[in-house]
Amino acid sequence: MPGILMRRLGSVALTLFIASLVVFATMDLLPGNAAAILLGTAARPDTIAALEQQLGLDQPAYIRYFTWILGAFTGDLGQSASYGVSVGGLIAERLVVTLPLAALALIIAVGIGVPMGVAAAARWRQTPDRVASGFAQVGIAIPDFWFGLLLILIFSTSLQWFSAGGFPGWATPLDAIKALLLPAFALALPQAAILTRVTRSAVLDVLGDDFIRTAQAKGLSETRILWRHAVRNALVPIVTIIGLQFSFLIAGAVLVENVFNLPGIGRLAYQALSQRDLVVIRSVAMFFAGLVILVNFLVDLSYLWLDPRLRARR
């Protein structure tokens, strides 16, 4: 067991390292430089030079890289030129919106997708299956940010149950959750559809396995066969998709936060782009990539718990 863990950790570290090189190379080394981009074409050379020094851009590349990476561990990711505050603080401040939003959306997606998928598999080619399959088919095709617009149109503009966007802050937790509810639903719909589909086909696959017939031959009840034998053995693909979805949710947040005007990290990435603030983009991009890699690692670890056969391998 510790052997597997160390090897996986090593490979995660390697992936993270390469990803950070990719981000650094595209954002810091390729044409132009942060200072010139930030100031625009009309800037005078001495202003650019001054800003370069302020941003540390006059240092050699490898020093800049290590300053950035070491900073990532201490939370010191440099100063944002456009916001005038530290990047680390900026990200932390935006995370308190994005992470709860993604978590809420994930809970909604799992809460809808898994039961629907299981019901569809249990009643294959009957009414529940057709309803769930239809939902999955249509739900996957609907863009989350558009669904958000529709929700605003219905629940804010017409019914006036929710405000059309904005975030009141966590000082008033109930209002904060209420502000996150519509965007979370918008994010969750396509993910619930995908999860329905994956759950359905994973459970159907297991239901075709020989040991299901053994369980039937024991005279077990249908419910027990379904949950204890079929769903239990379908968890690996289901968890894989849930893991993938967490990263998609975070990425989808870029769009949905814009629609709902939420001060989250996705909106930060977008705003940084319009401000041409490469220092912010670099760290936000790395944060997203790191999150995806980390969640994939956790999913990998969960396989060991879900599938006893994998524990035995080297």
């Binding site: 981000v23 009957q126 558009w146 991009a285 995806v292």
Partner: protein, 283 residues
């Protein structure tokens, strides 16, 4: 699982309903997109202030926007733009992905390890994030969208083609070819590629649908095609301002995206049902 009497019922559309419906929708979307190259009900960027913010059917099939431009004409041109970006991106993903995926299946050990690590790294950047990074470098535009979506699809096709290729490699005919003295490159071109082509085509169909979805998001943020060329995503972003006055502006482009994606997904699933008996009705 349950009483046999319950489960012997048959589908009203027959076993290939998804294939038929998907083909029809896809044909309509592609047809309208191609038609827009030659003809649209009115020039898509012609402003007619007198006709601004008219609801559907009062002026044109889908109404007009704040500048009096015909929305349906914009939707048709948007279909072409969206489809061409999606197809170009998927081609990038498919060519690099299949080349690397089949190589990984053919060459075990270090080569496979490097390719899969590469896939992991690329996969860690969702298309929107790479689009933001690319846009920071070279600015927004169709190239940015194609690159971002294409890049994200490389690991997708690496994983799919590697999985399919491994199944082919497990067959004795590959062993027989090896025993006869064929190298792994020739086995890949002679045996593996022909046997996985169908599966790859099916996956590509589904990925085109997803690419349309992502492209809509990118153009919503202004990262894709620059104005005045219309795109579904930007039409939605324009609609945000007039949400209460002209809700149809927000509805029509979204429906267009959903229908196009639905069409490609149904087509892909239908093809899978037809050609891969293992997943019959299960995917």
């Amino acid at each position: 699982m349950s009483d046999s009497t319950e489960t012997t019922r048959s589908f009203s559309f027959g076993p290939h309903a998804r294939l038929y419906i998907g083909s029809i929708i896809t044909a309509c979307v592609v047809g309208l997109a191609v038609l827009s190259l030659f003809w649209t009900p009115s020039p898509p960027s012609k402003m007619r202030i007198a006709l601004k913010l008219k609801p559907p059917l009062e002026a044109g099939l889908a109404g007009t926007d704040a500048l009096g431009r015909d929305l349906f004409s914009q939707l048709m041109v948007g279909a072409w733009n969206s489809l061409s970006i999606a197809v170009a991106a998927i081609l990038i993903g498919l060519i690099f992905g299949v080349a690397l995926g089949t190589a990984a299946a053919a060459r075990r050990g270090a080569v496979e390890e490097i390719i899969m690590r590469f896939a992991d790294v690329v996969f860690a950047f969702p298309a929107i994030i790479s689009a933001i990074m690319i846009a920071a470098l070279i600015g927004s535009g169709a190239t940015t969208a194609i690159l971002a979506i294409g890049l994200f699809n490389i690991p997708v096709f690496i994983r799919v083609s590697r999985g399919l290729a491994q199944r082919v490699w497990a067959n004795d005919f590959c062993l027989a070819a090896q025993a006869a003295g064929k190298g792994s490159f020739r086995i890949t071109t002679d045996h593996v590629i022909p046997n996985i082509a169908g599966g790859i085509a099916i996956q590509a169909t589904i990925q085109i649908g997803l690419a349309i979805l992502v492209e809509a998001g990118l153009s919503f943020l202004g990262l894709s095609l620059a104005p005045p060329s219309p795109s579904w995503g930007r039409m939605l972003s324009d609609a945000q301002t007039y949400l209460s006055q002209a809700p149809w502006m927000a509805v029509a482009p979204g429906v267009a995206v959903a229908i196009a994606v639905l069409g490609f997904n149904l087509l892909g699933d239908g093809l899978r049902d037809k050609f891969d008996p293992r997943t019959q009705g299960r995917s």
